[in-house]
Amino acid sequence: MTGTARTASLSDRALRRLFLTLFVRGRTALARGKPSAPKSVGERLFWVLVSYTAFGLVAFAGIGQPVLVLGAMLHGFSFFCLAVFLMTTAGETLFNRDEPDILMHRPVAAAAVLRAKVRVLFEVALWIAGALNLFGLWIGAFAPDGGWRFPLVHILSTGLSALFTVGIVVLSYELCLRWIGRERLESLLTTVQVGFSILIILASQFGPRLIGKTGAQTIREVPAWGILLPPVWFAGFDDALAGSGATRSWVVAGVAVSATLLVLWLALGRLAGAYAAGLQTPIAAAPARHSRPGRRWLHALAERPPLRWWVGGAVARASFLLTLAYLLRDRETRLRIYPGVVPLIVIPALMLMENHKATGFGVYSLAFAGMYIGLIPMLALDTLRHSSQSPAAALFRAAPVPGPGPICLGARHAVSLLFGVPVCLALIAATGLLDPDPMHLFLLLPGLVASPILTLFPCLNGHALPLSRPIDEGSQIARSLVLIGLFMAAAVVAGLAAMCWRKGVFGGFLAVEVAVVLLARWLMGRAVADARWAPAG
């Protein structure tokens, strides 16, 4: 091995190890201030993979289905999870603001950095895809046209699909860099990610579900537009090698392989130059843009009724404006919140679309969709607690404020205004326009009534103090479990509401709910107001 080749290989290995560690541990310190040594990469990965394996239980819904249908379901689900995961993390992985200062003045080529990042993204994607498909592998072996070959073939198609997903995410960013440039990409990154999330949902969830509605059981029965969806290509790969072996499946499998190769060639070869140029444009070096004077309208609005009455005192108003500023302007906050919220909105949207009949939306679907008026702000409030700028939150404790209550409430009002109000208006508009029964609008009320409780929940004990905690990927699983618990509670309330609607006692249900919410609101409000600063540490 020549000296140059040895250096390249050494630095490739160092970069791969670096990006894998950063990916798993998170970019900012997990244990800020804690003297303990960091947890191992393997331990963190293990728990992440356990949670993805649990998500993979969804494969049991495909028992008894032919290979093509099962494959489309598994690949659709994997593509959805992987693409959303990659989309929300790849922006920061590919374009970390600090990276040029740390890395790019060292003897490392931008192409080597890109290669190392893509390799790490692929490895992580492969592990996640493997965990998601663990149950599906064995279910396919017992499919009517499946057999012992299915697990082997599906491992191959899953690997191929993971490569394709990584390639398409990287390629998307490169195309954006080429078309709009690094500096504009920085300001449009959130919009780009939200746009990609919507496309991913369409390709991975709506498409296969619509194909399912056609009752297609073989590749011949899949409508022509269905062949355009990536999950169908990889399902065709499964079907060609381990299922029916139909000629059309072989063609579709060929499309899967060719598309993957094409995407990788474009991402790592043809457009890699765009990435290198992007890395050489440190945003901090560019002259600062003048903030638009129009942004002051928020301050003006917060000073006038009715927002002034709603938001409360000076401290809550300051927190309200701070939270809005971060939600509207801060790159990191926007990248973590908006792309994370969009995939969640798909759940009620899917339920509404699937259960839409001539008589209108399904009763339960509407009641559950209504719960999102409180669930989405609650999720945003929980995400907003974490920021790489958390040391700045020491300001809250230094101020003459007895406890975190008013600051949490200001943040709560901000997320309610930015997320709760639009979700509520969108649901009213969708129901009003698409549901022929205007009485169905009342089904949104249980969610609207419950929303103050859902958004107060993160404020208890000052947990919702905005931007106050470092980004700790490790505790996300525990937080996810709490949030899943709240989503399930909301689903139960929606179920009760739907049941009462069908039995004709919806009015009674609402009266009880209002009474319970008023009592809980009063108790929780007092708890939030009385909360005092916990000892720092």
Binding site: R6, T7, L10, S11, R13, A14, L15, R17, L18, T21, L22, R25, G26, R27, T28, A29, L30, A31, R32, G33, K34, P35, S36, A37, P38, D98, P100, D101, I102, L103, M104, H105, R106, P107, V108, A109, Q280, T281, P282, A284, A285, A286, P287, P470
Partner: protein, 256 residues
């Protein structure tokens, strides 16, 4: 040896660095000064390959900035003003990663790291027991300085290197860069702490609005402009003459 030839960088219509040319021979410490927004950091970013010049070029140790960026990076150590590090790595993991990027064998890297630790009066366990995000600002700065010098570069660029260092570490660091210059290293030192620059640097370059204002030995420049100190010279040249009066006027507004 560093030589800038008509180096220019624009951002849209704004000229950040305007036709800058100067040379820094081996063994010299040059203070690179200017007010905020003068173009110092942009110049250093261009010299370290972080930013492409709009026009002009530079040569470092005989290599051209535009044609041999990787060869230049092998020969340059850079302490950026941001002091950025990968916060989720431990200090040791970070330095090992940097050593690998410069092709320094593991054993040799560890020996070098131990030398730096000894210089900064630190134990080896300070690098292994927590992640960089949990380090104090000064400790993090020591890691950044170590990472810049680990590969023994002939040219070193410092951008506000003393930020966060305590008084003892700062004294040690100033002595270190003077010793490094005596060993033949070329040092470009950008800072706002002018009395340190006056004491440490052999030569001073002051720029403003991207243009070179003066270039010479501190004593000679001070004498030539009739200023008492480098600080006075700096304020004279960059147009802030009535700072004391403005401070007094402002302080009066605090009176009850």
């Amino acid at each position: 040896m560093v030589a800038l030839h008509h180096l220019t960088r624009t951002f849209g219509t704004q000229v950040a660095v305007d036709d800058l040319s100067f040379e820094v021979p081996a063994g010299q410490i040059v203070g690179f000064l200017g007010p905020n927004g003068a173009g110092k950091t942009t110049t250093l970013r261009m010299l370290t390959g972080l930013l492409e010049p709009t026009s002009g070029t530079a040569t470092i140790e005989g290599f051209d900035l535009l044609n041999d960026p990787i060869e230049i990076k092998r020969r340059v150590g850079f302490v950026p003003d941001s002091g950025a590090v990968f916060e989720s790595l431990t200090g040791l993991e970070y330095l090992e990663m940097v050593a690998a990027l410069y092709d320094i064998p593991a054993g040799q890297a560890e020996a070098r790291i131990r030398q730096f630790l000894a210089f900064f009066d630190l134990g080896f366990d300070t690098l292994t027991d927590k992640q960089l995000g949990a380090y104090s600002k000064g400790m993090r700065r020591k890691v950044v300085i170590t990472s810049a010098l680990l590969h023994n570069p002939p040219v070193v660029f410092f951008d506000e290197p003393l930020e966060g260092l305590d008084a003892n570490a700062a004294v040690g660091f100033k002595a270190l860069i003077q010793s490094l210059a005596r060993e033949g290293k070329t040092i470009l030192y950008s800072s706002h702490i002018l009395d340190v620059v006056e004491r440490v640097c052999d030569r001073v370059i002051i720029i403003d609005k991207g243009k070179l204002l003066v270039d010479g030995a501190p004593d000679a420049l001070i004498a030539a402009h009739g200023a008492e100190t480098l600080e006075r010279l700096f304020t004279q040249l960059t147009g802030n003459l009535d700072l004391e009066r403005r401070a007094e006027d402002f302080a009066r507004t605090f009176r009850p």
